[in-house]
């Protein structure tokens, strides 16, 4: 196991969580004590051998790490002949990268002596992962989920309930992920003494963007070793989908000090960024404060938060983690939109050519790789973070491709 996974880096924010002008804590005073406590526990845990060993053991024996690195040559043939490797986070227990973060935060919850965990979820992947970790560690679990999402991800609602979690449909606002976060924050204010808010993405107030990133840094650490081993060199591009940005920041950090490696985040372009129906926060958003941090935000000129639109519930979020805003501004990472149609084309292509059904979220990264491959040409080498599997997206696929029973 990479013992340095949680170690402080030169890329950490200042002590109040600022990545340049981004991040920080734009949140109610009532919660400051809780995030201070969390930050203090995390600063100790990230250098505590006992915590690191326990986290490593869970990643190995429960989540199934290290995840594989798989070359996708038949898929790559559609990308101008560049070589494409997939980091198989879809093979983790619960089917996505989300398990890395929830195991880390659930361990922290126990260290803080809290008995109850709340979480938000969009697609349900983070909710399922949280419910799983809570079942494993004997914590009470409540998951807030927008009512719209409970309908389009009914299977994941059932999984969470089976795992012992209470799923509360959120009926206010746009009834999607951002409203689930609002409701989780309201719960947290009222129950902060015994409750940890297990935030699912690398956003929110400090220290969440750092600790969620760190729990996912294992993705990039493994992938860097694996691609050096399999391809004999560093990739030209690392591609990952970006909603809140947790899987992307996890894999990016494995390569952030390798200047030859381009870091490319693929955002949900929905119907296209020239329409009102997309979730491409970094491409089309403006600076604002949402859910506790300064970052790019989709909003109107009055600062009212816009509804994001994406075929992927997991990317359907009008904000983004503050470190991505920083990486965009510094130029270290680039961000591009991918439309629903492009993502679904890549979704079908990977399924048919490689026998791997990706999550619709991850299909955005795959669609980006198809374009990047053509730009790089046959000498190119691309690493794609396949952040999750697509079983949960069958309803979406049935509707998009008309996959019903043939009559």
């Amino acid at each position: 196991m990479a013992r340095g996974q949680l170690a402080p880096t030169p890329h950490d924010p200042d002590e109040r969580g600022h990545f340049g002008p981004w991040g920080g804590r734009f949140m109610p005073e009532a919660l400051i004590a809780a995030v201070d406590e969390l930050a203090a526990f995390y600063e100790k845990a990230r250098v505590d051998p006992e915590f690191l060993d326990e986290f490593a053991r869970l990643l190995r024996d429960f989540a199934g790490r290290p995840s594989l690195l798989t070359e996708a040559p038949k898929f790559a043939a559609h990308a101008g002949g560049a070589r494409i490797f997939l980091k198989r986070e879809d093979l983790n227990h619960t089917g996505s990268h989300k398990i890395n973060n929830v195991l880390g935060q659930a361990l922290l919850t126990k260290r803080m002596g809290k008995k109850r965990v709340i979480a938000e979820t969009g697609a349900g992947q983070h909710g399922v992962a949280t419910a799983t970790a809570c079942a494993l560690m004997g914590l009470d679990c409540v998951v807030y989920m927008g009512e719209v999402d409970t309908e389009r991800q009914a299977l994941n609602v059932a999984r969470m309930r089976l795992l012992g979690a209470r799923v509360i449909p959120v009926k206010t606002g746009s009834r999607t992920l951002k409203d689930a976060i609002n409701e989780a924050l309201r719960d947290w204010v009222a129950n902060v003494d015994d409750t940890h808010y297990l935030l699912g993405t690398a956003a929110g107030p400090h220290p969440f963007p750092v600790l969620v990133r760190d729990f996912h840094r294992i993705i990039g650490i493994e992938a860097r070793e694996q691609i050096l081993d399999k391809a004999g060199r560093l990739p030209d591009v690392v591609a990952a989908c970006v909603g809140g940005g947790s899987n992307a920041i996890g894999i990016f950090h494995g390569f952030i000090d390798d200047p030859s490696v381009r870091l490319v985040g693929l955002e949900p372009g929905g119907d296209g960024i020239d329409t009102a129906r997309h979730g491409a926060t970094l491409t089309a958003g403006t600076p604002g404060s949402l859910h506790g941090a300064m970052s790019y935000v989709l909003q109107d000129e009055d600062g009212q938060i816009a509804e994001a639109h994406s075929i992927s519930a997991g990317l359907d979020y009008p904000g983004v983690g503050p470190e991505h805003a920083f990486l965009k501004d510094s130029g270290r990472a680039e961000y591009r939109p991918v439309t629903d149609a492009q993502a679904m084309e890549a979704f079908a292509l990977l399924s048919r050519e490689e026998g791997i059904i990706p999550a619709v979220e991850s299909a955005h990264a795959l669609a980006g790789a198809l374009v990047l491959g053509r730009e790089l040409g046959p000498e190119g080498l691309i690493l794609v973070n396949l952040s999750g599997r697509g079983d949960k997206d069958m309803d979406t696929a049935i509707k998009w491709f008309g996959l019903g029973v043939e009559s």
């Binding site: 734009f26 109610p28 004590a33 902060v192 003494d193 600062g303």
Partner: protein, 261 residues
């Protein structure tokens, strides 16, 4: 010198707490909110808080969330806020604004302070801005002579209470419970302890809010606080057509405490 000093001085002269009533601008409509606020002023609110409806109000319970949603669906724009504040001032009332931070950022921090001051607003309550992140806001409110009211909570450490008190002007807003806005049956037992802790750090007036819905509860808070803040109950009273009766009840509540002292 605080812009709100005359409000609290006058109440202190009567040995009583100030009654501070909240209503979202644009609720039930922009013109309707002006009418309701005028009634609140005429019937006994010493100060009104004009709320700026926001799409993602994480400190608000369902009553104020729904009111904000209705205002936004009705086409409320941030620029309408200043007209509502102006109408309070024109009716002889005193107004502060309560707003989440993002609309201020989007409008422009200095421009927001300037336009509010020009409309006759006296200060701003910012429930999701802590002083640590408030440098630009402190500068703008100083430049335009507006009071800035930060919040303290039962979970605040002594160090944070001290920082918040030093950064505020006008009064300090003490949230009486750990929770979001909304009328409650029982006023929190945490409030007296919090107010006592805050007084160790400052002589500034302390307003207590969250959960108050009637004169009896107002009287309880008025026994130890300088201001009693009532929000969700006014929103509900708009629906029930009982704004005047509620104001009269609350105004009598903040005076009962004085009588009993």
């Amino acid at each position: 010198m605080s812009r709100l000093d005359p409000v609290f001085s006058a109440c202190r002269a009567e040995s009583r707490a100030a009654l501070i009533g909240y209503l979202p601008a644009g609720y039930p409509t922009v013109e309707g909110s002006k009418d309701v606020l005028r009634t609140m002023v005429a019937s006994g609110c010493d100060l009104v808080e004009v709320g700026l409806p926001f799409s993602d109000p994480v400190m608000d319970g369902v009553t104020i969330q729904r009111a904000a949603e209705q205002a936004l669906r009705g086409g409320f724009r941030v620029r309408d806020l200043f007209g509502v504040v102006e109408s309070v001032a024109a009716a002889g009332g005193r107004a502060v604004v309560m707003t989440y931070w993002n609309p201020v950022l989007a409008y422009g921090v200095d421009r927001f302070a300037r336009d509010l001051a020009a409309a006759g607003g006296l200060g701003v309550i910012t429930p999701d801005l802590v002083p640590d992140e408030g440098a630009s806001w402190i500068e703008a409110t100083d430049a335009h002579d507006l009071d800035r009211i930060f919040l303290v909570a039962p979970s605040s450490t002594e160090e944070r209470i001290s920082l918040t008190a030093r950064s505020s002007r006008g009064f300090l807003y003490a949230t009486s419970v750990m929770g979001v806005t909304g009328a409650r049956d029982v006023v929190s037992s945490a409030a007296p302890a919090l107010v006592k802790r805050v007084r160790e750090h400052t002589d500034m007036p302390i307003g207590v809010g969250l959960g108050v819905r009637n004169g009896a509860q107002a009287a309880e808070l008025a026994a130890f606080a300088d201001g009693v803040i009532v929000g969700s109950a006014f929103v509900s009273a708009v629906q029930d057509g009982t704004v005047e009766a509620l104001t009269v009840d609350l105004a009598s509540g903040v005076r009962q405490a004085a009588a009993s002292v």
